[in-house]
């Protein structure tokens, strides 16, 4: 049962296509797991459709645009139109489809790197305006206290964590703004696996992680 959802601002920006790729990945992964947010997203897409449809006349295409488009269609059919399949749902996978596309498979394909304290991470390749990584936090382990320089989204994929504010289980997404200081602790049970995106580097308060920061690229 998912209790922590995406907010309007994120869903609307994803629908409008203005989120950085790293945040879009978290939104796409959450929507893959959450029917409530999928329905809300369809609502925001419908707003986009109404905005498009409501653009008044006044802009014309060049003469012959339809013919040029038909020629383009014919050329694409000759060459075989590039098919871009949407990720398919897969039962028993820990990672939702859009995430498997980035990783190149399910959990077994993740290339983890240790970041200290038993925590491991894998940074995923996205455009540079924000970053996103998978985190593997052993059950019962605390992630070092840190504050956020920007917006941070954390989606739980397996296990659960708890901080001073609430509990986050599979499918839940935590939205942390710059003023949030928290110490998430992975609950006992299966190790906690999260997808975390941020538009600023995390600043850990402990001296050891801070020292390690330039090397491990957090």
């Amino acid at each position: 049962m998912i209790r922590h959802h995406l907010n309007d601002e994120l869903l609307m920006a994803y629908s409008a296509g203005t989120l950085p790729e790293a945040f879009s990945l978290v939104v796409a992964a959450h929507v893959s797991l959450c029917d409530t947010c999928r329905a809300r997203l369809e609502g925001f897409d419908a707003v986009g459709g109404a905005v498009l449809d409501g653009i008044g006349d006044g802009i014309d295409l060049s003469a012959g645009a339809l013919e040029a488009t038909m020629a383009r269609i014919a050329a694409m059919e000759r060459d075989g139109a590039p098919a871009v399949p949407r990720p398919a749902a897969r039962r028993n996978a820990v990672l939702p489809g859009p995430l498997r596309d980035y990783v190149g498979g399910d959990l077994e394909a993740v290339r983890w790197r240790p970041v200290g304290g038993g925590v491991r991470q894998a940074i995923l390749p996205t455009s540079e305006s924000a970053s996103v990584r998978l985190l593997h936090i052993p059950a019962g382990t605390a992630v070092p206290d840190h504050s956020h320089g920007g917006l941070e989204l954390t989606l739980v994929l397996q296990g659960a964590f708890r901080d001073e504010h609430d509990r986050f289980g599979p499918g839940d997404v935590e939205i942390a703004t710059p003023d949030v200081h928290h110490t998430p602790v992975a609950e006992p049970g299966p190790d906690c696996i999260c997808l975390a995106a941020t538009d600023a580097p995390l600043r850990f308060s402990g001296w050891l992680p801070r020292l390690a920061q330039p090397f491990v690229k957090i």
């Binding site: 309007d8 601002e9 609307m12 920006a13 629908s15 409008a16 296509g17 203005t18 790729e21 879009s24 990945l25 939104v27 796409a28 992964a29 929507v31 893959s32 999928r38 997203l41 369809e42 897409d45 419908a46 707003v47 986009g48 459709g49 109404a50 905005v51 498009l52 449809d53 409501g54 653009i55 006349d57 006044g58 802009i59 014309d60 295409l61 060049s62 645009a65 339809l66 040029a68 488009t69 038909m70 383009r72 269609i73 694409m76 139109a81 949407r86 990720p87 398919a88 749902a89 939702p96 489809g97 859009p98 596309d101 980035y102 996205t126 455009s127």
Partner: protein
């Protein structure tokens, strides 16, 4: 059925004809309505006229090729074409990937339910009316958010409005839309 709802049903029917029988006349009717809107949408997003024209043609070619994946029970024609235009814009202006959610479809596509499709067209009509009747200041911000490669902070810079004002206006606009959409049996 209102005239606008009928028109929406017609767009859905044209898309079905394109999908089922590669109907060039149906496509031409879709083209004359949507291609100028897509071009205008891309220009409002910051593309110059030549690039917008090029991409609008590209978007319409994609409409032809993907017509079979249009589901009138899940989206209106305008919404479906908006998502294609938006994705093309991300590709064109930002040159980055757009991760998409998993598809819901399991196994072969069922024939879309006629009644669901009609409900979708009526809901779409109500949404359009609701957006058009928003207070001007709220409506403009909603439109800019969708045209945008404008983030909230860039809108703030362009309009001189504080970020908090923009966020609260958009929030009020969404509340108003939700309220309008949740009223049963709205007068047509």
């Amino acid at each position: 059925m209102s005239e606008a709802t009928e028109r929406r049903a017609a767009w859905a029917a044209e898309l079905k004809l394109v999908a089922s029988s590669r109907d060039a006349a149906a496509f031409a009717r879709l083209f004359s309505h949507f291609a100028p809107r897509v071009k205008a949408f891309l220009m409002k997003s910051g593309a110059d006229a030549a690039m917008a024209e090029e991409c609008a043609q590209d978007v319409m070619a994609t409409v032809w090729h993907k017509a079979a994946s249009f589901d009138p029970a899940r989206a209106s024609a305008a919404t479906w074409i908006f998502t294609i235009a938006r994705n093309r814009r991300i590709d064109m202006l930002r040159r980055e990937r757009r991760p998409e959610p998993e598809d819901l479809t399991w196994g072969p596509e069922a024939e879309p339910d006629q009644e669901d499709a009609l409900t979708m067209q009526q809901e779409t009509e109500r949404l359009s009316v609701a957006i058009a009747s928003l207070p001007e200041k709220q409506r403009v911000l909603i439109e800019r958010a969708y045209f945008g490669d404008l983030s909230h902070s860039e809108i703030a810079e362009a309009t001189g409005l504080p970020l908090g004002t923009i966020k609260s206006r958009i929030r009020m606009a969404l509340e108003r839309l939700r309220h309008r959409m949740s009223q049963e049996g709205v007068r047509e």
